[in-house]
């Protein structure tokens, strides 16, 4: 069965965000309302005009759709929500685009909001990583039958998502002779970008020396290879392209999309064939993926890449999965400033999860839209015709002006 044509039918017509930090001592609903309100203002619409809501993450780390709608007095024709983790950024936006194109809603807000969940629970404010509800939620997933989604096994003392990424990094280093000095380039680039972003959580310049002297955590990963756990919120408004053209800002069109794949050949931190978790070890033959086919372009049309860089190694995996370079080549590909804002393929110009904030990829969507409208000041990219959100775990969006 062929898909109904969604290319360029829908658009992002507004974006909004909040401060990012930890702890902010603000409730998730407070943050959600601010980002949502800002996105509506940006689009030039009233908060009353929104008739659909898709929430990434949800309670207890974030906000559930029903409580937000009730507290803010929204009158929604549809709502939907993804689980208490990241990953589902594109999933939410794709779902919004399909609901809008199918006529089930006209104006869908998609967002994540992460608060100091102690506030939400009526307890003393504290950062969510030490909040008992949040900690229990994270442990529950790690302890599920068959193991956690990131290679965790808490029975063996492994209950955090970074260890799976460290295992992937070790395999990559050993297989291709890549080094920590090469991996440093990813964090150095995001830190340089964050220095040009007043909202970023870590704006300290990072040199190769700084990187090599930073503490090892789950080896071979070091502190700068880790994303910045954050509180805050970010929101995008999806409408039809037709309606978006009548709104305040230049619309950014959703030109290509590719859903999230899963199965025994998939492991969140790498691509099929890599040979970790229960994957077979085999050659990865990247084909022209559906997202490019739908948008009618190939890699050469992509002016900048945005990716879920929760750990630096994941950026390498995304580059290889999407065919920007071949397996084993990302270590070399990312050297010499190629992924910095004045390089051949800028990646995560806002600083990414590594240096701006771990806002579950929602901050990247906000950045893409602002870049494509020319609103990014010092870090404004020169070429912004077409940008891609594409992840190691296999989903993507292609945006165009």
């Amino acid at each position: 069965m062929s898909t109904f044509d969604l290319k360029d039918r829908t658009a992002i017509s507004g974006v909004g965000d909040t401060e990012y930090g930890r702890p902010l001592n603000r409730s998730a609903i407070d943050l959600a309302a601010e980002a949502f309100g800002n996105a509506c203002d940006d689009a030039g619409i009233s908060t009353r005009d929104v008739d659909g809501l898709i929430m990434s993450v949800g309670s207890p780390l974030g906000v559930d759709c029903d409580s937000l709608a009730q507290m803010l007095g929204l009158d929604l024709r549809m709502y939907s929500q993804t689980w208490t983790h990241g990953r589902f950024t594109a999933t939410c936006i794709q779902q919004a685009a399909m609901y809008v194109a199918a006529g089930f809603a006209d104006t869908v807000a998609c967002m994540a909001a992460l608060g100091s969940s102690g506030v939400q629970a009526g307890l003393n404010p504290r950062p969510f990583n030490t909040d008992p509800f949040a900690a229990a939620a994270a442990r529950d997933e790690a302890a599920r039958e068959g193991g956690g989604g990131h290679g965790q096994d808490p029975v063996y003392g492994i209950d955090t998502t970074d260890v799976g990424a460290a295992l992937v990094a070790r395999v990559y280093f050993d297989r291709y002779g890549a080094t920590s000095e090469q991996l440093a380039a990813v964090s150095i680039a995001t830190r340089r970008h964050a220095a040009m972003n007043s909202g970023a959580m870590n704006r300290e310049p990072l040199s190769l020396d700084d990187y090599m002297q930073s503490p090892l955590l789950a080896t071979p990963l070091r502190e700068p290879d880790y994303s910045l756990v954050a509180e805050g919120a970010a929101c995008v408004i999806v409408t039809s392209t037709e309606r978006a053209r009548d709104m305040r800002k230049t619309p950014v069109l959703i030109s290509g999309m590719q859903p999230l794949p899963v199965g025994r050949e998939e492991f969140i931190w790498t691509y099929p064939g890599f040979g970790v978790a229960q994957q077979e070890r085999r050659a990865y033959g990247e084909k022209l993926q559906p997202v490019y086919k739908m948008a009618g372009v190939d890699h050469s049309a992509i002016d900048a890449l945005f990716t879920y860089d929760v750990y630096s190694i994941i950026t390498w995996m995304a580059l290889e999965r999407w065919g920007f370079c071949k397996p084993g080549e990302a270590a070399d590909f990312t050297q010499g400033g190629r992924i910095e804002i004045d390089g051949e393929l800028p990646i995560n110009s806002h600083g990414g999860l590594l240096s701006e904030a771990h806002m579950f990829g929602w901050n990247a969507q906000v950045e893409i839209i602002r870049q494509m409208r020319g609103e990014c000041g010092e870090r404004q990219l020169e070429n912004t015709e077409m940008m891609q959100w594409a992840n190691a775990y296999g989903d993507s969006l292609i945006y165009r002006r």
Partner: protein
């Protein structure tokens, strides 16, 4: 063994009970598909390769190699202020001779000694009265 075991316990279900009971008897056991021969982890109601419902539990050799490893000086949680005590020295992904991979810990190694591809063998670690874990040591 008089100290109470305070670490995370496995979720023992109807699907994986033979696996955990096997470890108690110091036997590593996993399901093997009668139709396609796949031996798999995690135990599930049918073969994840050919979807056959016909399988039996078999004894494995307990031998394998280190597919991937990490020495845990800290984690994302300790970076955020969680205590490092209780953190294992390492995390290893073992590829068993029969194919499936398990997440575990390597014992009997000094820091810096773990190598990718290192042959290993299972160690039955009786951590509590009624719980045995499958850790590994260099073969």
């Amino acid at each position: 063994m008089s100290e109470p075991y305070t670490k995370m316990l496995p979720g023992i279900s109807n699907l994986n009970r033979p696996y955990w009971e096997g470890l108690r008897r110091h036997v590593l056991t996993l399901p093997e598909c009668d139709d396609c021969g796949l031996i798999w982890y995690a135990p599930s109601p049918w073969c994840p390769k050919c979807h056959s419902r016909n399988f039996k539990w078999i004894e494995l050799t307990g031998k394998g190699h280190v597919n991937a490893w990490s020495e845990l000086k800290g984690t994302h949680a300790t970076l955020l202020g969680a205590p490092t005590d209780g953190l294992p020295d390492n995390a290893v992904e073992i590829t068993l001779e029969e194919g499936p991979r398990l997440i575990s810990n390597l014992v009997g190694v000094e820091p810096g000694e773990i190598r990718t591809g290192m042959p290993v063998t299972v160690v039955y670690d009786d951590v509590a009265e009624d719980l045995t874990l499958a850790r590994f040591k260099p073969a």
